[in-house]
Symmetry: D2
Subunit: 338 residues, 4 copies
């Protein structure tokens, strides 16, 4: 860690800081300059966290040299982590397609979707069971009644299942009953929830928060891995920017960067990432080309009557189109579908 | 609601949509134009939510005419709501100062702060008991042990208490034991939590999410009020922008706008809103002038050893300075301190 | 146009507004509602601009029904515009690669690059002649001396040329001497400059401003087309967001959306769009897949000694890699290189 | 400057970099660590710019220790610069009010405004003469015809004048004919224009770009000062964020921060900073309290018929209100109006 002192800092003040660094087992360095004094701390700088040097009144700025995350970093773990969800592998060979409705709405709806996406080549079925919503006046999900319909639809079509968990209690209720947990964008920094899924053996799809930095997403993944669960898939789902023509700005830079910085698989959610049905297919292709290991898309038997997020759900026909259109790009990427 | 159809939409398609509008009890309007057909729906357009017209394949865009929130709007409730927290009133006469450490760290720490801020004119004591943190390696709060220290420090100094709740269980544990709940920025759209505090009689300080729009904050407040608790104070605490010289961008436009749109009190958090200790005093003055009903600031007996957020905590001396420096602006606003 | 009146507006006030609408030749509509009155204006709403209804004290909000741009819109001009730059065609068949250094630095530098990129399959040579820079202490470009070197290098390698113009005077100086003008991100709304290039017959590469909305870019293109020059290529080059891991956030949503909204070709600048050399190749592939008609990349014979933007320039070897790696994706898109 | 090498960098590569640093006259430092090697460069690091170390393939990141600007920094120039515009002083004693229409539209309009704002206490008259506009269909300003009307109106009311210059030619045309140049947000990084005004003796009001960082604004000011003109006033006018309830987000953090970092005066533009007429008065008060040295507001005799920006212009009555309402805050700040 590099510590730049304020202009007024004296040598005595610098020495106090150097002693603090040494007390944590790091090698301190003293670099007086003409305009500013700079200190260094060599060693495992993550141990310096408790000193909060950035808050010290004599300190101007600090610069970390190592990344704040460790276990999810490719530096110490160069090979790709393969995440295995009931036999579906997130890896460099395949390209995983997760599809399904925003919310499970009825037995017929979820059966139709499950059968339809399976026939068209999807790997995993997604569906919301609990739907905490922005407006108090909106549909809130079927709850545990929906779970039964959801599991039934998936198993009768040989599909693994992905569903969102929004609090610790739901993790306990659903563990063992779904193939993969999803942590939604709003909960990316719900650390109690991250800890709970980290203590299970169920793979986790971790979505980037709407205004989360890439480093923050990786740190949230670190939290899960650090609690014992290494089966984590990162998900880029669009960030909030000033642009209003699309609901979010899909950040494919983040996909390419995270594949380089981390060994975890990365998938893309073009439904939320655009919020515009007509953009889902082109952005799915772009996700493949940027190096993603899969996509997660919203599919509904009749989007015009969907109880939530209808604007961005595909019909089964449109989903079939999507699968046909991404195929040449999946091949160009040296991967295969299904 | 105004519904603009896509260029290709036929009259027949328009008529289907008009029938849907009528079925919800609104008056439908048909406005064919040269390039586009426009439909109208007159009446309580909140009832149209379930139709999800924005998702209909023949619909280009929709425009709501009424605000999406109702109970927190000044349109139907022109007079200011006064929120009363153990005798401290958030109203147009006073200017409420909430102060205290980011986290309760020890009995001595919280006693020193409570006594110090009381002497300098604060109204309420804040302090974190549970501290879910970004990094798995950081201090996580004292939990219920901290609650006892916190309540003791407050009561022995005749101060009401404000603490954050981060899940439904904490609401149950803390209800009746603190004077005011805080909903943090990360939980502004945790609807289960909003519902839980909405069902208590404890006043709520609702912080704006880091990338939440003003409308979304008002809708989150609506959620609480709709569940039965009208004692809600809105809090502007800075939004995430591209600027990196400050931790967040304090949006005082939002303060002035929310005072006009809503009857709820509004306070400002200049500590998180800037992330820079030297900016807390000028931005507190600016908050007063923009029309805020109070501020919430982080104060620590020794910020250099604070276990969290040290960069933005004031010492007691600095807090004394703050109180002295805002006083003439509080008077200029026609308000009084304490 | 739909005009929502303020809650207090009377029928008399509404009638005055209706008369104003009628005076402009549009059909006025009066839609009184329970809580709000809404007015409509049917016809060519672009004529209403002068009325500035959005500023009228009785008006709450207005909603345009038609897009603010016209000539660049696909609605009235469904077929793709093909832009022809000295024989290089921006169209749905090919995929155009523009390459070259940030700035022309010396005869040897530009000759090496021109030869190198030609051999590896590029279509057009880019290079900055005038380089207005952020810091007064930075390299400012060679000026007209550079032009000669640049043209020579291009013509001896049968490459067309693209260079940035930053004011009206430069347009006059360079017209006829380069194959294509580039309008940089900082000048996207320099209307005098847009007018100047609009009055030439030289094709224009128009870059999106760092914080420009898609609609604003299309409106800037409209400005050029409206002045008589229809040979405009739009360029997505990344927008400024809160993310700091990359220099900009490349917005490929914008590429897919602009291809749907407009008939003009769209290219992508992955060099500025990421600011990170390692991301240029994956994001070039993603650009192809999102539907772009080409890319513009920075290439330098020795990026380590480049006088500007070295962080994001590719060496010739890296550029060769880029060409090899995008090829399968270009084929998957049904296009061909060169 | 601190230079962090990539993980793979060898000692030999480090030594090459150290030699480069030494060649520029700075003292090189070699700090090998367990996971990364760090280099230091002590001395005037602004000289290292040409080395572009951030682009070197062995370099991961660099951290500047000194601010990138020098002459506008308070570090080397602790006392406030007083800017004098025809006798109106931007200093810590007064609070300067600049008012006038977005554009000069007619003799009668500008005379009415000039007289009206003078009577109500303004110090300087603003008005646009050239108005490059977003849409090709909008009013473009009266040009030099407007200048005569503008100067006449100002001088007959003993007001200094402020007008925007948008290119080098206008600087020559207007120099000596107006009291202060304004550089608009779109031209904040138009370096040729900055140089041109830097070579005059006319004071400059420099507006922050819509997505410019504070550091970039200070660097643009440095550009002007470096060319010889020290009479520069910085202007915060709102930044572009994801929030849509206001046209821009007024960043008063920036005002407080720039007053601490720089010795130049800072003013606020609440008209553009909010884009909402009803917010201009509260945000003007907030600007005073945040430490601004003045404001610049748009005033029009009849905003409902203004040819541009009508939504955010005040009538003369509203301007009178503004002056009355800010007065107690100006006094609280220890300043005086007029």
């Amino acid at each position: 860690m590099i510590i730049v002192l304020k202009a007024h800092a004296t040598q005595e003040q610098a020495e106090k800081l150097l002693a603090m660094i040494e007390s944590k087992g790091l090698e301190p360095l003293y670099l007086p300059g003409e305009e500013r004094t700079v200190l260094g701390a060599l060693g495992d700088e993550r141990k310096l966290g408790e000193l909060h040097l950035e808050n010290h009144p004599d300190v101007d700025t600090v610069k970390q040299i190592l990344s704040p995350y460790k276990k999810v970093s490719r530096e110490l773990h160069p090979e790709d982590t393969v995440v295995n969800v009931d036999g579906t592998r997130f890896s460099e060979e395949g390209f995983v397609v997760i599809a399904g409705p925003c919310a499970v709405e009825s037995e017929q709806q979820i059966q139709t979707v499950a059968k339809g996406i399976k026939e068209r080549g999807a790997n995993l079925l997604r569906g919301g069971i609990f739907k905490p919503r922005t407006s108090p006046y909106s549909f809130q999900g079927l709850g545990l009644d929906g779970l039964e319909m959801f599991s039934q639809a998936a198993s009768s079509n040989q599909l693994g299942t992905v569903t969102e968990v929004t609090d610790v209690e739901e993790v306990a209720q659903l563990d063992g009953k779904v193939s993969m947990f999803q942590i939604g964008a709003r909960n990316m920094q719900n650390f109690r929830l991250l800890k709970a899924v980290g203590q299970t053996k169920t793979p986790v799809l971790l979505k980037r928060g709407m205004s989360a930095k890439i480093n923050e997403l990786l740190l949230a993944a670190e939290y899960i891995v650090d609690n014992g669960n290494e089966q984590v898939v990162l998900c880029e789902r669009g960030i909030r920017t000033y642009e209003t023509a699309t609901r979010n700005t899909l950040d494919l830079n983040a996909v390419a960067l995270m594949k380089q910085k981390s060994h975890l698989p990365v998938v893309v959610d073009p439904s939320h990432g655009t919020g515009v049905r007509e953009l889902i297919i082109p952005m799915s292709k772009a996700a493949v080309a940027a190096g993603a290991d899969g996509i997660i898309v919203e599919v509904h038997p009749d989007p015009t009557i969907a109880l939530s997020d209808a604007h961005q759900q595909l019909s089964l026909d449109q989903f079939g189109d999507l699968m046909r259109q991404i195929e040449p790009f999946v091949k160009a990427a040296g991967r295969t579908l299904r």
